[in-house]
Symmetry: C2
Subunit: 474 residues, 2 copies
C-alpha cells in the first residue's frame, strides 16, 4: 500500500490534499518561504494525528505541523524537496470544555485564538493572549511559538497561560498531559519543553488554558514624552502606581505615529503643537477590578504626578470606550502604515528594560554610521522590553539598496541586542528565518543541550526538520 493511500485510510480521502490543492499550505502567508509538500493531511482527532505520525515515523517521512499559517519565521513551511507531509491541525478546532470554577478551558490545537477569546468572554472570563493575527492564528501555533502580544506585562506569554498539553510524540504515541492544575511538581516539565519548540519535538493536539476574571473596566491613556529615558522612568512609575492593574505599556516613536497620520488621514493624533512633535509616545492600559471612574481617578493621580515631575510632557486619558479603541487603533495601525510606506527590515527583539536606553541610542548611532540616512521605525511592547526595532529607507535610500544590506543591517542590530543581554527573537520564534544565526548568539553549550533533547525525543529527525536547529544537526 502506498503511503498516500495509508494516510487516506487514516483521515479519509477528502482530507489528504495533493498537487494544486496542497500548494497554498506550502507557502507562508507573507510569501517569503515557498516549499513543496508530498501531501497535506488534515486529521480530525488526536488519535488520527498519532496514527499519521506513527505511519510517518515508520516510513521516515518528515512532518511539518501547521496551524493558521500566520507565522513570521517560516516555521510552518516545508522545504522544497516534496518529501514532507504538512499536518494541518485546522480541523481540530473544538473547545472541549470550559470550567469556570477552576478558571480553565480545554481547547484543541486548531482553535482560532479569537474563538477562544470569545468563548472565554461568553463564560464571563478573560483569555488574555492578544496579538495582531488573532483572527486567523491557532492555539497550536501560539503554543508552538510561545506567542506574546500586548498583555504579557500582566498575564505572561502563552507558556504562562497554559496548564496542560496533549501531544503526539515523534513516535506517534499520545501523551495525555491535559492537567488543569496550578501546582504540580511531579517530574520533569515536559509541558514547557513542547511549548515553544515549534513542532520539532512532537505535535501539540490540545491544551488546558488558564482563564482570568473579566476586568470590569479598562481605560487607556496616550502619553507624549521627550526622551527614551523618561519612557523608562514612566514605566517604573506605572508599575509602582498601578501594580497588577497595568495591562499595557506600548511604545511608539513619533515617526511611527506620523506615518500612521500620513497613511490614514482619518486617524488623528490627539495632540497639537509641540506635543504632536515629540519623539516618543506611550499607550498605557489599565484593567481595573472596580470601575471606569476608579480607573480614571488612578490615571489622573499617577499621570498627573508624572507631568508635574516633568517626566511626561502631555497626556490624553480616554473619555470613553470609543476613544480607548481609537488610541489602540493608532498603535495597531503602525505595521499597516509601515507596509504602506515601503519595505522595511524587521527585528523582533527584547532587551532588559534597564539597558533599553543604551540599546536604542547605541544601535541608532551604529546604524547611522554604517548606513547613513537609514531610518528607524521603533515600536513595541516596552513593558516587556520587547521592541519591533525595524529599519526602513530614509533620505537617499531605495528599496533595492536597503534589501542589498539586509543581512548586514540585521547582524548589526542583533549584535547590539546580544551585547546588552537581549534576545534576537522575543515573540516570533526561530523557524527557518533565524535558524542559522542562532549559534552566533547562543553558546555552544546551549546549542548542544538543545540538540541532545532533539535527538532524545525525535531520533529520526522527522518532526519539522530544519526548523530551530539545522536538519543535520541532531
Amino acid at each position: 500500500m502506498d503511503q498516500l493511500q495509508a494516510l487516506r485510510n487514516i483521515v479519509g480521502a477528502s482530507q489528504v490534499l495533493t498537487g494544486a490543492d496542497a500548494q497554498p499550505y506550502a507557502v507562508d502567508w507573507r510569501e517569503r518561504y515557498r516549499g513543496q509538500a508530498r501531501a497535506v493531511v488534515r486529521p480530525g482527532s488526536t488519535e488520527e494525528v498519532a496514527a499519521i505520525v506513527h505511519l510517518c515515523a515508520k516510513a521516515s517521512i518528515p512532518i511539518v505541523p501547521q496551524g493558521g499559517n500566520t507565522g513570521l519565521c517560516g516555521g510552518a513551511t516545508p522545504d522544497d524537496s516534496r518529501r514532507a507531509v504538512i499536518l494541518s491541525l485546522q480541523r481540530m478546532n473544538r473547545i472541549r470544555g470550559t470550567d469556570t470554577d477552576n478558571d480553565t478551558m480545554e481547547v484543541e490545537a486548531g482553535c482560532i485564538l479569537q474563538s477562544v477569546q470569545q468563548a472565554a468572554r461568553d463564560a464571563g472570563r478573560l483569555f488574555p493572549l492578544s496579538l495582531a493575527a488573532e483572527g486567523s492564528c491557532t492555539i497550536g501555533g501560539n503554543l508552538a511559538t510561545n506567542a506574546g502580544g500586548t498583555q504579557v506585562l500582566r498575564y505572561g506569554n502563552m507558556r504562562e497561560l497554559t496548564l496542560g498539553l496533549e501531544v503526539a510524540t515523534a513516535q506517534g504515541e499520545i501523551w495525555y498531559g491535559l492537567r488543569a492544575l496550578r501546582k504540580d511538581n511531579s517530574g520533569y516539565d515536559l509541558r514547557d519543553l513542547f511549548i515553544g519548540s515549534e513542532g520539532t519535538l512532537g505535535v501539540i493536539t490540545a491544551a488546558t488554558l488558564k482563564l482570568y476574571p473579566l476586568p470590569p473596566a479598562r481605560c487607556t491613556a496616550l502619553l507624549a514624552l521627550d526622551s527614551i529615558e523618561n519612557v523608562i522612568v514612566m514605566l517604573g512609575r506605572s508599575r509602582a502606581g498601578f501594580g497588577a492593574a497595568l495591562t499595557g505599556f506600548e511604545l511608539m516613536s513619533g515617526y511611527c505615529l506620523q506615518q500612521v497620520a500620513r497613511c490614514f488621514p482619518q486617524q488623528h493624533l490627539p495632540f497639537d503643537g509641540a506635543s504632536a512633535k515629540l519623539p516618543w509616545y506611550v499607550l498605557l492600559e489599565l484593567s481595573d477590578s472596580e470601575s471606569e471612574a476608579h480607573a480614571r481617578t488612578r490615571f489622573e493621580s499617577v499621570v498627573g504626578a508624572a507631568i508635574e515631575a516633568g517626566c511626561v510632557k502631555d497626556a490624553v486619558i480616554a473619555e470613553s470606550l470609543a476613544q480607548s479603541q481609537a488610541l489602540w487603533h493608532l498603535r495597531e495601525s503602525i505595521p499597516l502604515a509601515e507596509k504602506e510606506s515601503g519595505k522595511s527590515i524587521k527585528h523582533d527583539i527584547s532587551v532588559p528594560v534597564s539597558r533599553l536606553v543604551e540599546f536604542v541610542e547605541g544601535t541608532n548611532t551604529a546604524l547611522q554610521n554604517a548606513f547613513p540616512g537609514i531610518r528607524n521605525v521603533i515600536f513595541g511592547h516596552l513593558g516587556d522590553g520587547n521592541l519591533h526595532y525595524n529599519v526602513a529607507c530614509g533620505a537617499g535610500w531605495t528599496k533595492n539598496a536597503l534589501l542589498s544590506h539586509q543581512d548586514e543591517v540585521s547582524t548589526l542590530v542583533h549584535d547590539c541586542v546580544h551585547a546588552v543581554g537581549g534576545s534576537i527573537s522575543a515573540e516570533h520564534g526561530i523557524g527557518q528565518l533565524k535558524r542559522d544565526v542562532l549559534p552566533r548568539y547562543k553558546s555552544a553549550v546551549e546549542m548542544a543541550l538543545m540538540r541532545k533533547i532533539k535527538q532524545a525525543l525525535d531520533p529520526q529527525g522527522i518532526m519539522n526538520p530544519g526548523k530551530v536547529l539545522k536538519a543535520d544537526e541532531h
Copy 2:
C-alpha cells in the same frame, strides 16, 4: 591522585568534609532518610561547581546537590552506599545584583530565601515566594523543587518567578543562561526543564529572579463558612471581586483551628458562639496598590455581599497590621499544632478547584469506610487547588496502628486525587519519597519521555541518582 585529593585541589582542603563532619549533611532535617556520603564538597564559585562535576563525571561518582536541606521528600539525601559526593551550594550565597529598572535580581543558588526577600525589600521591591522554611531553605532548592507556598495564587510558583539560570551540566560544562528577559522565544525552554528536576539533570548555580512592586497595603480577613461548597463559591467571588489584588486564599478546617487553640492557648480564634464551631475557615489576603483604607473598603464590599448571600457565615477583617499577623499566625501554627497532636500521614496534593468538593467528600468517606475513626487534618492553599490533606489518629487509633496503615492510607488518598485529575505532589516534589509510586499515576508515555530526557542530559546517571526516577531506569 585520589579523588578526595582532587576535590580538595578544586575547593581547598577545608571545604571537603568527611566522616563525622559529613554526616549531618547525609540526613534529611526530619530524619526520615539517613544516607552515607563519600564526602561533602562546598564549592565557592560556579567554576568550582563545574570542575567538581567534571571530575565526578570522569570517575563516575554520583553527585547529590544540596541547598538548605529542608526538603520534604528526601531529594537532597544520598543513599547509604557511601559512593556519592554531596555538593553543598551553601557557600554560593551572593546576591550578584539587583536591577530595579528591570525588576530583576541575580542570585546564587545558596542564597537563603529570606535573604532574597529582604534584599528585594531593601530595593523597594517584592520577591513574592513565601513558605514555611524560608529562613533556611535556599533558592537552589526552591528551583530544584519548583517551590510554591502562599502567594502562588497571584505570583505563580518558583518557575514563574524565574527568568534565567546558570547551570553546571552533568558533563561539568557551564550553561550561562542568566537572561533577564520577559520575552525570549529563541529555542527550547531549557530553563524550565532544569527547574523542578530536583538536581537530576544538572546543578543550578545561579538564577535571575523577577521582582514586583511592593504593595503599599496588605489586608487580611478571616471568614467562617458552613460548607466546602461555599468555600468554592467564595473563591469565585473573591477572584471576580478582587482580581489581581487577591494574594492569599488559605483554607483551614475547623478541626485544624481547634487544635491550634488547644495547643497554643495564647492564640485565639476571633469568633464566638456558632461561628467558632463551623467546619471551614478561610484566610483571605488582599495586596492593595492604593492604601489600607482602600483595601478595607473592598473587603467590606465583597465580603459583605457574600454574607448577605449566605455564602459566608461570619467574618473578621483585620483592623491593623498586628491583627493581620495574628490571623496569619493561626494559619502558620497548624503544622506545629499537628506535630504537637501526634503523628500524621501527610499528603501534598492538588486538584482542579471545580472537583475539590467531590474530592474532599469522596476521600473523607472512603477513608472512614476503610479506616473507621481516622481523622482528617485539612488545610492548604485552596486558591491554587493545593491541599495538605493529612490523616491523623482519631477515636480508637494509636500512633502505631496509624503507621502500620501508612501505605494503604496514602494509596487511597492518591488514588482519589488521581481520579479527579489531581497531582500527588503539588509543591514538594518527588525525591525518594514518591519515586516508586509515580509510575502508578503517570502514563508509560510520560515516564518514557522523562527517562529519555534523563538519558540525554545525564547519560552516566551521576546526577542525584534514584531521585524522581529509579537509578536503573535511565
